[in-house]
Subunit: 144 residues, 2 copies
DNA sequence: TACATTTGTATCGCAAACGATTTAATCTTA
DNA sequence: TAAGATTAAATCGTTTGCGATACAAATGTA
């Protein structure tokens, strides 16, 4: 079989624009999250907890597609910051239950301006946004 | 102004599917790049060099949207692996010139199967691929 | 009850990513 | 040409992200 080297061009890849757009968009979050003293993955954890508090690490793992070896140190840091508590479940001691503190809950009000700020930074129309959103979830749900 | 907390739902964000799809797709690369003994960002650097060898760090930085504090250790590692050389330019000593070695050049043949493997993993049609590609570049080029 | 397996979490080590800062070389311009 | 600005790359410190591994509790099974 003939070797096709032209497929190796940077601008033909899907991975590269995905990776780059993700990094650049995350960078856009940086200044506004800095005011809340949060990193981007910490913000994602809070998004989960604001929707459903008092969950184990597994649930956060499933929602964010992040493994426990990533989440554990992240959650410990957030515990030190006073945003949440980590406590072994009494019923099933394999579970560690994460609960928002008062401080963690209150942060939701301050964070409520974040999505609007970010969509104001986006060059996409409402329709393009929807299309992109749908295509990305298609990839996410397909990937094992 | 009333505070709108519903915008903080995880599945309404654009950032999150972008971030997750990027991570999951990069993970798809892992097994095949492991056979070439490359990480994903190392593969990206090679994509640049296979297109244009003998370039300074700045050019790689511009093409990949990565800063020198990310690239310098990455390139040093690749130098230790014997994939490339790093040498100060004689004309302008601020520049460090990156050149592929024989080994680095030869890797292109082995890597030529990577794009086909990955597009076989993708659930997207040709048309969806193009749409996604275009929307992502719209974001990339818009972001400062 | 003893033993193996599964499940959930944690630990370790490495490679990115990036903000902030530094160093050195080159360019500008007064 | 000397002072200041700019540019290129490197350094430092912190946080992610993940593979590999370890470990304890819970569950299944002989």
């Amino acid at each position: 079989m003939a070797v096709n080297l032209s497929a190796l061009q940077l601008d033909k890849q899907l991975c590269f624009p995905l990776y780059t757009a993700s990094r650049l968009v995350t960078q856009c979050y940086h200044p506004i999250l800095k005011e809340l003293d949060l990193t981007y993955p910490q913000y994602l954890v809070l998004l989960v907890l604001w929707e459903s508090d008092k969950v184990n690490v597994s649930l956060i793992s499933k929602r964010l597609y992040l493994q426990s070896n990533t989440l554990t140190p992240l959650l410990k840091r957030m515990e030190e910051m006073g945003l949440l508590t980590r406590e072994r479940s009494a019923e099933d001691e394999r579970n560690v239950i994460i609960r928002l503190t008062e401080k963690g809950r209150n942060l939701q009000i301050q964070a409520s301006t974040v999505p609007a700020y970010l969509s104001s930074q986006t060059p996409l129309s409402q329709e393009e946004f929807q299309t992109l959103h749908q295509l990305l979830y298609k990839i996410i749900q397909h990937t094992p």
